[in-house]
Amino acid sequence: MFDQINYSLQFIKPELILVCTLLVSIILDLIFKNKKIVIYFVIAGLVSSFVSLLSNSNVNQHLFFNMYAVDPFSHFFKIFLLTAILGIVVFSMFSNEVSEIKSRKGEFYYFLVALTIGMFLMSSSTNLIMMYLSLELTSLTSYLLAGFMKEEKSSSEASLKYVLYGAFSSGMMIYGISIIYGMTGSFDIFAINIALADGVTSLALLISTVLIFIGFGYKISAVPFHFWTPDVYEGSPISVTTILSVASKAAGFSMLMRFLKIVFIDPYASPSVNDWGVLEIVPIVEILTVLSVLTMTLGNIVAVWQTNLKRLLAYSSIAHAGYLLLGVLTLNNEGYSATLIYLVVYLFMNVGAFLIVMLISNKIKSDDIDSYKGLGMRSPFIGITFSLFLISLTGLPPTAGFIGKLYIFSALINKEMILLAVIGVLNSVVSLYYYVRIFRNMFLRESLPTDKEITLTLGEKILILAFAIPTLILGLYFAPLVEFAHASVSMFAGN
């Protein structure tokens, strides 16, 4: 028994390092007035976790009595999440919102570490209670981060809405879990899978799936569980919004994908690459299809009406969740790998876009789309890089966004879900409407004479480029990304 625990421990070094980082930085934050020390310690902790993570690349282990899996799939997400969090930590250092709250600055960063731990756990959990726990860890930290600027009404409001919505959703989810437990007598998703395959069929399964999906749907902001998203994205500090739209959404997807793959796939079917053999007990693909179509369509067409850029990006990120779900619902290796590819691509373009919104918001104190008039001419660097991110979000070559969409639609077409693919591409046409409005304001409209020149520091420029260059490069040369994504899901093929 202790052997098992000892054995398991060697594979969770990255998580352990993060926990230590969290604990030490709490202490450091109490000791030192200079919060920079905490920040650098957090960065160091994240980096060392990253380094130790790299040694795990070929591990495929079920640990802690099947509670936890360290495998290529979770490995992919952990690398993804650490990259995102590291980026956002650096990003936050440039944020006025965060630096203005001097007294709680250190806390902000160690909460980021806690969030990372939560997301790590989400991506690796193979037990429903573990999933619920890690989801709650992530959520709690997110509520706190969203309300971090507690003197600001919008931030407080965001955190209230978030916490109520989140608590409700997780409550429904745990109720759903309880029903599943009642039917299968287990929390272990593998065991549940076997039980389901052995002939548990009932309406209760459907209702519990739907209830569990409330939890997942809330995490990935899928329609109709997305309602918190625009308000929380708008009210939170931009760096937190970025985390929510990228990292925590990715973590949600990792959990959802693992859950779907393990629970709803026929364990006795001979494994096939393109068809995992979905158990016919719950119309899971249909449910996902409806969710996905609703999500991307609603996200896009409501985004058309937004004038606040954070809110616009919030709706756009809802729409992107819809695209991601398209990849998930194919329930095969290809679709899963396409989702992973899209997530990576989305990381760069979305964080880049938020970064620019934040920098502009720092300088001109406005997120309104009208304040972007003439920006492209006043500040060509911002104009060009922002355009790049927006093109990528639209999904046009030569940017990474195109590659992401390409793989998603490839997966759909290969599964002969043509109609869904058509809906997907038409949605990306709709999305052009509102992205183009930003171009238009930046380049086609004249700026007011009162508008100041926006100058960026070298650090800011480098940070923007750190997101812009991958966005471009991945559009031109994406083989490593695709290989990585394939490798990460290929463990599912054998089952």
Binding site: F168, F225, F227, E286, V290, I301, V304, W305, V436
Partner: protein, 684 residues
Amino acid sequence: MTETLLLQFATAILFIPLVSFLILIFFGKKLSKKSSLVGLTLIGSTLLLSLIIFFTKLNFFHDATIDYTFTWVNFGSSEITIDLGIMIDNMTAVMLVVVTLVSFLVHLFSISYMEGDIRYSRYFAFLGIFSFSMLGIILTNNFFMMYVFWELVGLSSYLLIGHWYEKTSAANAAKKAFIVNRVGDIGMFTGIMILWSTFATFSFDEVFHGLSLGILPFDSTAWLTAAGILIFCGAVGKSAQFPLHVWLPDAMEGPTPVSALIHAATMVAAGVYLVARVFPLFTADALIVIAYIGVITAFISATIAMAQNDIKKVLAYSTVSQLGYMIMGLGVGGFTSGFFHLVTHASFKAGLFLGSGSVIYAMHHVLHHHNDHHTDPQDIRNMGGLKKKMPITFWTFLVFTLAISGVPLTSGFLSKDDILAGTLAFSDLTGHTLIPIIAFTVAGLTAFYMFRLLILTFFGTHKDENRLNEIHESPWQMTTPLIIFAALSFFFFYSPSPTSASDGWFYNAIEKPESVVPENVSAASIESFEEAVHHNHGTAMFLSLTVAGLGILTAFVTYYWKKINPEKIMNTFPSLHRFLSMKWYFDEFYDRTVIWFTMMTAKVLAWFDFKIIDGIVNGVATVSRITANGSGKFDNAVVDGLVNLTAYSIGFFGLILRTVQTGKVQSYLAFAIVGALMIFFFFN
């Protein structure tokens, strides 16, 4: 003199006018006055070469067809190629002389006529390009080039009619000429398409050869007839046949020498030439259509000519009428006579126009001298008594008038008589008796209105004696062509006998080609037709002399001796007179039907395009706009971006959906749980 040399000459004839055009268009400004000399010299040289070809061909290669072909476009396989080339047969040789001669004389005439014109050099340049295209039509041995030059002739006609483009009427006339011609050309092009789809060649010879082997377009004689009629459409346009004749009278807006050259002698005759060229492929039905078109044209325009007062308009309608004659002649099967009338008509009609040009020139000078810009120098009612002041013009004009009226000893008598004989023969053979009846009526009408013109212009008294005294004869550059044309209007140039053309060299050289269409749809054979013509020759001559005489007599009675008051007759039949003077209301008819319809369609479609296709369902747009305005959140810029139905509805639904986002977290939760329940029930 070898065939090769002849071909080289022919090529030279074709390109010399082009060279003239290029020189004058690029260096015209520098040459200024000398441009006319350049043009004259170059066209003179073509005349010389044409004469050489003419005599050589008729004397040494009488029965040969000299032909040169090269591959112009190769579609990557040897099976389909487009071959172009030129050919010289007797018809070509005759036409070459006619065209270059008229062209040369018109050049000569224009030197003084156009003096002082602001675009003097450009005028001669355009004459050059006209000559080029006209000669192209004559020399070609295939349909493709025929069509190409056909259109180019249309272009030069357009440019020359629009020479004084500052005048709206001139610009309109030019446009009308081009477009009406194009309508005919489309028919011709369609005809050519039919032949090309069948034979994959444009060459006349090869098409005829194919037909004579029994290959029919789309295996049907109907399509063959259609092809013939469609190609004839080209002639309808260019030769101003009913119903496309409306452009020619308007074309008189161009300078008078141009009218003489293009709109009387050569270009309009191209249609006749075309019909003659492709004569073998006409079926009997096609020929009947052609004959009727010709005779209807002749009749309509003759009646209109009677009621016109503008000297050039009268001549224009007379031209249309005579062209109708030629077409009719060909249609009834009188191949040689129809073509012969083309040649004789060229000289006397060119002469008539130049004569009228001379008169107008004189009138214009006088009016100009008196600063009178109200009196129309072309209105015959303002003329009269010019006989003494302009003797050369008068005497030559008289010769032309006699010739066109078909008075014996003139060339016109020879050709016209033969055509009339042909119509009689045709009615004998086919029973279409209406054709000869109208043909003879038209002969009488022609004599009447031509003498009316002559009398009103040259006889009688001028309204204003003082002004009459200032009128004087035109310079030699203008009278010389008149004299030459007058000379050419006598019979001896064409035939030793004043009564029978068939003895002359012309009938010897130009023979009716054998039809290549299948026998059951072919017209009467040459022998039977010749037989019938011969049989009717005497009758025709007698009748034609009678009607011509009657016509002349009526003219003299009415306008010279004034025994009949034309005003009175007009007042008796006012509507008839208005009908004739308004040219049978053809223009009005077209304006209110075809053109109106086209413009309306265009406008409706443009509206449709703008409103419907583009801004599909404004209703949705409006709803969205009203809703949005009401809520005060309308983003004008967004609606700008939303251009059509989809966009509007997307916006609209977006607008509705966003109202769900109330900001109240409990309603969010309610929606979430309702959503979850709906998913459950949906998939239950």
